[in-house]
């Protein structure tokens, strides 16, 4: 092993501090969610219990946590699928410049940088002025896409910037139609990145607050419900929910990682080099 420079140890120290900073609140939440039955939202702990987790599964005084969780989950899946499909199509199309592609590109950037509250306000106004009813699966869905699509597209741009075009040329030489080329060559090669896009699509949606605020309609999504709870709930059940949603997010990441691993392993078994086409 090469010897470590002194800066390594300094930076390791910095990195550990950074992790502490990052994890501080998460750990605080984690600890406080095991607060005893009579404990409050702040320290000190009054005993240790699973009471608040149990409480989470019983009916709350207000709101509907599990309903909102279900909606957020469904919405997350909707957004995820749409983001993947639209981003791939967009990424493919954007490889060539054509009239209008520049404008669309700047729209994507605008969509990425526009303050989220504007989307919320604008979509809300648009629906109310045209007499449509806002609903999480229509206006909320669209509003979230304005945030997840630019993300997905940026990832796809990065992927296609590094995509070796000779694979496609080879496929075409071998008589593949454009669709076959995409289906049998391009998609398998970019599959690992698609898992990334899907993960982003899901989690960005699952955590989105501002864009859903005025566009979700009668039924809350989970972040809205949590926000609502911060206005009404004064018990550690809020932290139990926080801990549980973190665990849930971790499970989701785990599932995606496992998917990536499995697909890699299957490839390795099949002995192909797919996925290596990205240089």
């Amino acid at each position: 092993m090469e010897p470590r420079p002194r800066s390594f140890y300094v930076l390791t120290g910095f990195f550990i501090l950074f992790l502490l900073f990052l994890y501080g609140p998460t750990i605080t939440i984690g600890i406080l969610s095991f607060q005893g039955e009579n404990g409050g939202l702040t320290f000190p702990m009054r005993g240790v219990s699973l009471y608040w987790f149990k409480d989470l599964f019983e009916q709350q005084a207000v709101g509907d946590i599990w309903g909102s969780f279900r909606r957020s989950f469904v919405l997350g899946l909707m957004v995820m699928v749409t983001t993947v499909v639209v981003s791939v199509m967009g990424g493919l199309a954007f490889r060539k410049r054509f009239p209008g592609s520049g404008i669309l590109f700047y729209l994507i950037i605008t969509s990425l940088v526009i303050p989220s509250i504007l989307i919320s306000l604008g979509v809300g106004l648009m629906f109310s002025q045209t007499g449509l009813t806002v609903h999480w699966s229509t206006s909320g869905f669209g509003a979230q896409l304005t945030w997840t699509l630019p993300f997905g597209l940026l990832i796809m741009f990065a992927v296609f910037n590094r995509f070796d075009k000779s694979y496609e040329e080879a496929a075409r030489d071998l008589g593949a139609s454009p669709w076959q080329t995409i289906r049998h060559v391009v998609l398998p090669i970019i599959a690992p990145s698609l898992i990334g896009v899907a993960l982003f699509g899901f989690t960005l949606s699952y955590d989105e607050f501002a864009r859903t605020l005025l566009t979700a309609g009668s039924y809350n999504t989970l972040p809205l419900e949590i926000y609502g709870m911060t206005t009404n709930v004064t018990s550690p059940v809020l932290y139990a929910l926080g801990t549980l949603t973190t665990v849930f997010s971790l499970v989701i990441i785990g599932v995606f990682l496992a998917l990536a691993l499995v697909s890699n392993r299957r490839r390795a078994k099949a002995g192909t080099d797919a996925g290596k086409g990205l240089v």
């Binding site: 998460t26 639209v86 940088v113 303050p115 979509v123 304005t146 926080g242």
Partner: protein, 304 residues
């Protein structure tokens, strides 16, 4: 169609067939992009137009009335508070940017250049991202028991004898706001910088060392300039997220400070949509100008 038809370099394909091909490209491109274009049209362009239109409307307590008046803008530009609030917005953006940049760059640098195996790089990187999967709101409010007058930080400092009286400015202050921003958004800086750093050819570092550059010189003359695209992308994320925020400032300042986002959200809460729209339009223009300036330094499409 013979396969050669796809090769525009053939001398046969000049003139009109070439044009046809180009048209075809545009058509195909637009067909592939139509879902994207539709979403952006329906949920980005139309809402912006809507906001622009409404910003000229009049409002009552409970409803908005189509009109064409400048009173929302007059009020906005006429109030000294607007300038304070815009100043605050820039202040938060700038300080948060500086902090996230220093932290993000250092962390990315450490991961990219001091961690040797890719497995460890990925593992440590994932470790950084885990806290970002907790709900933002919960992450934010969990600072409160930490920073409060009788919070963990103050109790610890007092028990160590560093201070005698609880430090008040830890919570409900600009410090708390920026701390929360940095906490929420540093990852947006780490990811793109790490990504660009990972693509720096290691032989460039060796070449610099060969040329006699020491660690700091390499950092300043090679790594920093080569990381610029990542820094720019991270900057765009952090600056726009901070400038558009309205929740963090409210929670962490104890409602004592405001940025433009809060001005808008307060107006929305009070059903003053035209006034909110006017402020939103001004905010949007401000953000777009800032981003426009940043984009002059980096070709996002090329650098991804």
């Amino acid at each position: 169609m013979p396969p050669e038809g796809a090769r525009p370099s053939l001398p046969l394909l000049t003139g009109s067939p070439m044009n046809k091909l180009r048209e075809n490209n545009a058509l195909k491109g637009w067909m592939m992009l139509s879902p994207l274009a539709l979403v952006l049209l329906a949920f980005l362009v139309t809402p912006i137009i809507m906001i622009t239109v409404v910003s000229f409307w009049r409002a009552t307590e409970f409803s908005i009335i189509p009109a064409f008046v400048w009173e929302n803008y007059d009020f906005l530009f006429g109030s000294p508070v607007t300038y304070t609030v815009f100043f605050n917005t820039f202040k938060y953006a700038l300080i948060t940017w500086a902090a996230t940049f220093v932290i993000g760059f250092t962390v990315a640098y450490y991961l990219a250049f001091h961690i040797r195996t890719q497995t460890w790089q990925i593992a440590l990187f994932l470790l950084c991202t885990i806290p970002f999967w907790t709900s933002n709101i919960i992450r934010m409010i969990s600072w409160i028991p930490f920073l409060g007058r009788n919070g963990i930080a103050n109790s610890a400092l007092i028990s160590w004898g560093v201070i005698d009286e609880p430090v008040e400015w830890l919570l409900f202050s600009d410090f708390a706001v920026i701390l929360a921003f940095v906490h929420l958004y540093t990852l947006f800086m780490v990811v793109p910088i790490f990504n660009t750093m990972m693509r720096i050819d290691r032989s460039l570092i060796e070449a610099a060392r060969d040329a006699g550059a020491n660690g700091i010189q390499i950092l300043w003359n090679v790594i920093l300039p080569l990381t610029k695209p990542g820094i720019m992308i991270g900057t765009i994320f952090v600056v726009t997220l901070v400038m558009g925020d309205f929740i963090t400032v409210r929670f962490m300042s104890g409602s004592q400070s405001a940025n433009v986002g809060r001005l808008i959200s307060n107006d929305i809460a009070l059903l003053q949509y035209p006034s909110a729209s006017a402020t939103a339009i001004v905010l949007l223009l401000t953000v777009l100008i800032v981003i426009g300036i940043l984009l002059r330094f980096v070709d996002i499409r090329k650098e991804l």
